[in-house]
């Protein structure tokens, strides 16, 4: 995924002063990467759109506290990832998800054995497993950072990554009628 995430300092300064046009400029710059991150972590498109909206409401509210340390995208991404993970946690509490792809949020029984492309295979992971794979392998978060954001241990993050990759391997390797 290659998206330009460059934002001018002037735009950021205007956004900090509350200029709505500048805030919309930030929204336009980060709309797709934020949605993409949320959509890759979450199973549902509507939930990902909600995360997009919640993220930008938070950006508008807190842009004054952004001190310019590091790239703005890193700051926005942190907010988006937290919102997406919060949604998973809420859903997990609701559905008593035990973070086990074999028992909850995992592949429907009919899908096991199907030859899937990577895109579809990702959707057959548990919510937590998919989030860890995406955040670690694509976004570049460390296990320590993921553990902190999820309120879990580093071992939990590592084991989720290993189990999810084992499952991806199985899903991608299986033949059509296997």
């Amino acid at each position: 995924m290659t998206i330009s995430l460059a934002v001018s300092d002037i735009l950021v300064a205007r956004a900090k002063s509350g200029d709505l046009d500048a805030l919309e400029g930030l929204y336009r710059a980060f709309e797709t990467p934020v949605y993409n991150l949320a959509r890759r972590i979450l199973r549902n498109a509507e939930d990902a759109e909600d995360v997009l909206q919640e993220t930008f409401l938070e950006v508008v509210k807190s842009i004054g506290t952004y001190r310019g340390d590091g790239h703005l995208w890193g700051w926005v991404r942190q907010i988006a990832a937290s919102k997406a993970l919060m949604k998973i946690r809420r859903e997990a509490v609701r559905a008593a998800d035990e973070f086990d792809e074999t028992t909850a949020g995992g592949a429907p029984a009919a899908a096991v054995g199907m030859n899937l492309d990577l895109e579809r295979a990702l959707e057959h992971l548990s919510d937590t497993g998919r989030a860890v794979v995406w955040m670690h392998d694509v976004e570049g978060y460390t296990h320590e950072e993921i553990a902190e954001m999820m309120g879990k241990t580093v071992s939990f993050s590592k084991s989720q990554l290993a189990r999810s990759h084992a499952r991806l391997r199985k899903l991608l390797a299986a033949g059509p009628e296997a």
Partner: protein, 190 residues
């Protein structure tokens, strides 16, 4: 033969693998293939096309932001008006200073004024030297004090607050007069 686990392979991919896992993967065809598949999968994940939202969420965000700003402004305006009303009430009615306290302040102002009068009288007998400019300042201050005395002598100034205000002004002017007449004049007199 023990092969690398997925944990071992992921650690190797992230350059965190153990020496044993590294040695094993170097010599084991199956594990080397698994490791290569992991590298490829990570590259494929990164190459997935970005997804875009089906609809534009900005209008809803904008509406929410404007609504929040309106609420905040209304709240601030309410607080400001309430604060201004309270301040005005304090200034006019001085609710925290009971009448007895203000009467005490009035008595203190009168006493201070009398002490300053005594000091001026004693300094007048010492025959100190004044510059022309100081003499003019003294005349001006004495005129202002006389005007206040005139007001204090009328029946229109009957309330404690009004009297207190005038007596405090008188004390202030008397202080200035002492400053010019005693301190400055004695300096010139040296």
């Amino acid at each position: 033969m023990t092969h690398c686990t997925m944990d071992d392979l992921l650690a190797l991919r992230d350059n965190e693998g153990s020496a044993w896992a590294r040695r094993h993967a170097d010599g084991c065809e199956a594990c080397r293939k698994e490791l290569e598949a992991l590298y490829q999968r990570m590259a494929q994940l990164k190459a997935l096309p970005p997804r875009s939202p089906a609809r534009d969420r900005w209008p809803e965000i904008r509406t929410a932001v404007l609504a929040a700003r309106r609420r905040r402004n209304t709240r601030w305006a309410g607080w400001s008006m309430a604060a201004a009303a309270v301040l005005a009430g304090v200034m006019v009615f001085r609710p925290f200073a009971p009448p007895s306290a203000r009467a005490g302040e009035l008595a203190r102002a009168r006493a201070t004024s009398a002490q300053l009068e005594d000091r001026l009288r004693s300094s007048a007998s010492e025959g100190r030297v004044l510059t022309g400019r100081d003499a003019a300042v003294i005349a001006q201050l004495e005129d202002q004090i006389a005007a206040i005395d005139g007001q204090l002598g009328t029946r229109s100034v009957s309330g404690v607050d009004a009297q207190l205000q005038l007596w405090q002004q008188r004390v202030n002017l008397m202080n200035q007069l002492v400053q010019v007449r005693v301190v400055r004049a004695s300096y010139v007199g040296l």
